[in-house]
Assembly symmetry: D2
Homo-oligomer: 356 residues x 4
């Protein structure tokens, strides 16, 4: 009979609930055995009772207790960003495989501490959940690039743009998110590291931004529209756009420009394959949220993480990249606020300018 | 604990294997307990041993024996078309729910015999697998139409077009397929019945066709490109195109034209969301086969069929429609070969013209 | 100094006014010297006085008088369809080149009489204005086909679809238009003759139609949505759709399916290159009328007609094709009304079935 | 009779020849009376003799002599950039209207001298040829924005990307072009000034670039891929991309992001309306050069310039904007080479940082 990976899901918020269902329903080689959420999270607990309890999943209100579940082999960390690192490290120390939602932390040092913990347990699989790495379209583009179809990849443009949310949600959220470059563009930065190569060394970062709709973001040193430019040593440039004000819906897209061609991912976002011809023209709707774009990628993520744990095979990318991505995201966020370009030497070490 | 539906899959060919995996891996409320394939189907048996046996699925080489599996509650019939009806009827008689691949049969009478058998067991769920009924895009279009967004649906154009296959496969296949209008356009006919209403009465059928690439199809009274026109009583027209010679890949599309707007489903087929800009222009690839377009719909089909069986809820459409679709498909195929328009009275009864 | 062709424009209605301006302003080798419109056409005369008179164009209220203009070399016939043939023949007899708007006539015999008149004056250029023949996209597609890029062209689908006009205009218009297959699909039929070869022989025609929006069309034996199927000898099929009820605007499109590929012209209509992303999705507007799609083709038509007259070079297509197109259009219209398929022998002669 | 504007065209190179033909053939209210090109420009003179001489246009090899043509009223300056300003000023001093190709100069000061000269002759129409201002799609987008359809325009992204030209042309060209931000992105900068308002004040500029294909560009302090970011006072951001390495062809596009919507111009470039479905997928070709995209805009430019001269009406935009555009372009080019952000105070005056 088939051997299954026994998984727990920490956090049952928006993304946690999705992870739980993916492991429960769509990952044939995994068994969801436990879930954690704080005792006060009433709506999550109700949801758990309806959706997970009937399948025999056990609920914990204490993360440390959950780690003691006798059959537990792997933990998905999908709680708030501020506890990602702490919970990931505890799980590693308890000898569990870990799939941690992005980012590991909004701090480079704390992110690095997860890597350090993982390095002490090389038999464990520890992964940061950069979902786009599992997306069929991004993989298709990467494979085409890898096959030489665009020559040498030289410029990457990538954007993560959220649907306008007039509720003020993004203002509250900005308190803990690390800022738009760490929260949104972290994905695009990770794409640059993927497409340009994991060993790419950042040379400079520069960012500007505005609060077009939500001036209160300034309280938390954040913006609702940001443009960031990153140079890499070796003659490569990535430039990023992030926004919280897209009227039509989520629009995450990327283009990779090489010396012999260009690859574009999701230039024309679409929801279903339906187009409406009506008196006002031809129209299509687009997904309102990232999950409408990346649902399948999350399932692939769960499936491949499970296989790597069970079969002791390599994960598709290294955990250290997650620290690089946070480092670049934080440098962009700092540049946004200081108005200054930040430079790095050829080893990636920051160049501090005495006079400034 | 959750109650699961115990399912068997009859047939492990191309589509059977997919159905088996959908019920095994992607239908949380179902348990795949058994499978059937003939003793001589070596490659299917090898596949079974690798993919299904480890999960405890039991293999039968005798369909009747499989029906005796003690826990069995439902059967997926995914064998060759010629035995669909017989196996479906046997399963019904053995008191099993049935999901039967389309078409029930290439004969109207035999198709009707499945309906007759099902009518005797109203507690059973018996469904013909018109996968497009479960496709998110077709459902989106239908809901928009139902909400009145295009006024009164009046004209439907729909095509099922396969990728060119120079191997001669389609010639051999034509022997049993019932012909291009029954094999391919059956889906489009079913869409017309769905969008125009299940009670639509056919008024006339007319078809023409050519063998552009495979003249040998004529041996089996078939073509590789067909155009069919169907009038419905009440002032509605559907027209269909089917082809076996698409160079780029599968292209199934539909448009529904109403008095106040038009809905189009999959006018611009696409594989992934990647576009390539290269010296020869801007290019995208498209799925080579229908499964690349409808994979998710098949999973939804499995999920909803399972739910209807477990919860005793209504299936999304009636089995009788499957007979109507075959009736229209056969009339188009006959018109193709006779060169004559076929007419029906307002009750849908064929008008036989003495003089002809 | 450059030699210019002296042109007169008969008719200053919607299309006549456009022709006049094309020859006046956008055809460097032509000189618009005269125009004709009936004395009672007040708004046309006002327009003439504003737009053409200042350039020295002379207005006639008598067509025959206009033909006597001393410098006149060529006539554009853009009056109502019912007088096309008569005016074209008079111009030919007066030894003028002729560009006649489509169709020559809604009657095959009268259309043929124009050809007969032209045959007597082989030094004259006489052309029927099938504007799509001058469209850059249709030419691009034709050249690709001619270069072998799709193998052997086998199936052609083409539609001419007008924007919904609730004013009732189309009902009045139907009195003289010859019906939707002669008025709209004449262009698509001409495309079939162009892409399949001018010598293609029609084998059968079949048509159905409905009055989805304007039941009064039935008075004039016309419909607002028509589907027509034409077989050609030699294993080729063309099928057509025409509609008067497009909510979004004009949508004329064509696809040519060959044994090795497919060419599509204007599958996704667009007005400008602007896309709007707004709360309801992503939208583009499309041209409301055919002139928004084909304006440039009309200018090319004027330019090439002028060059052929001045340089005594061949016109891009033969006048006889215009008779073939009317013949097929009329046969479709007849089939629409009789409900019967019409057949032709291998010489294109109609097969009359005694018993029917 | 109609009054016509007598125009001369200075320069008969690629763009000069096009301007000459536009005024000769496609501008009904203009008369091309003269042209200038240097005596040694043999191929231009041959072209003149074939295409312009037959229409009575007079050729000059001395620009000053051309200005003395007795009927001359307006001059199109389409010579090399280095003499634009000098020739424009001479024409102004000779009391001629001027349409000067962009940029006025690659130097801010010299550009300003043209404005100064024009200011002394307020009765003359002096315009810099920003062709996109006359493009139907850009105007459509502007009108929609102006009508409030996207709320407050806040972020503008715009790119000017040339087809890869392996001939080395761009290296030689870089000697005089002013660099990629002045040569290519000048159009995008002008768009920012147009969409954000002509009175927008630049706050900062920042640029990076690489030589992905043509390292020799470094000799002239230029790159083949540049990314520029411009902040405007009042909370607006424009960011630009320019490239000389597009494999598929020219791709100039723009998006304007507002607080309530987004407008995109030419996100999906296309040549004709033909799509090819072939074994490698679905493909379209795109224009190789900017003229394939903007041909019609140039004709509109000629037509509207002519009308403004004849009717003494306002030009659609002010000449001073051309100086602003050069100023921003030069600042981007300087930032590219210095690696430093350049800042401006709220009056647009450059802030010189003593310590740097």
């Amino acid at each position: 009979m088939i051997q299954k990976l026994n998984v727990a899901c920490a956090g049952l918020g928006r993304m946690g609930a999705r992870h739980a269902l993916h492991f429960l329903e769509k990952t044939p080689r995994a068994e969801l055995v436990a879930a954690y959420c704080p005792a006060e999270a009433e709506s999550e607990i109700t949801w758990f009772n309806q959706r997970l309890a009937p399948f025999g999943v056990k609920l914990y209100n204490d993360y440390d207790e959950m780690l003691k579940h006798p059959k537990l082999q792997a933990v998905v960390v999908a709680t708030v960003t501020t506890v990602h690192a702490e919970q990931a490290i505890k799980a590693i120390e308890a000898d569990k495989h870990v799939l941690c939602e992005k980012p590991l932390s909004t701090s480079v040092e704390i992110s690095q501490s997860v890597v350090d913990a993982a390095n002490k347990k090389p038999h464990l699989k520890v992964m940061c959940g950069f979902s786009r790495r599992f997306d069929a379209s991004y993989r298709d583009a990467w494979n085409r690039m890898d096959n030489g179809s665009i020559g040498r990849a030289s410029v990457l443009r990538s954007q993560t743009c959220d649907k306008l949310d007039p509720s003020g949600f993004f203002v509250e959220y900005a308190q803990f998110s690390g800022g738009i470059f760490v929260d949104c563009n972290i994905h695009d930065i990770d794409l640059a590291l993927w497409y340009f190569g994991q060993d790419s060394i950042v040379k400079s970062t520069y960012a500007v931004g505005i609060t077009a709709v939500q001036p209160d973001l300034r309280k938390y040193k954040d913006v609702d529209n940001g443009v960031g430019v990153v140079e890499f040593w070796g003659g490569k440039i990535a430039y990023f756009y992030s926004s919280r004000i897209m009227a039509a819906g989520q629009h995450d897209m990327t283009e990779i420009i090489g010396t012999e061609g260009k690859l574009t991912v999701n230039a024309n976002p679409l929801g279903t394959l339906v187009e409406m011809s009506e008196a006002s023209g031809v129209r299509r709707e687009i997904p309102p949220h990232y999950y409408g774009r990346f649902a399948e990628a999350f399932v692939t993520e769960a499936t491949e993480f499970t296989a790597a744990c069970l079969d002791s095979t390599k994960l598709p990318f290294k955990l250290t990249g997650a620290v690089q991505a946070v480092k670049i995201g934080c440098a962009l966020q700092e540049s946004l606020n200081s108005g200054k370009k930040i430079e790095f030497d050829e080893t990636g070490r920051r160049i501090e300018k005495a006079a400034l």
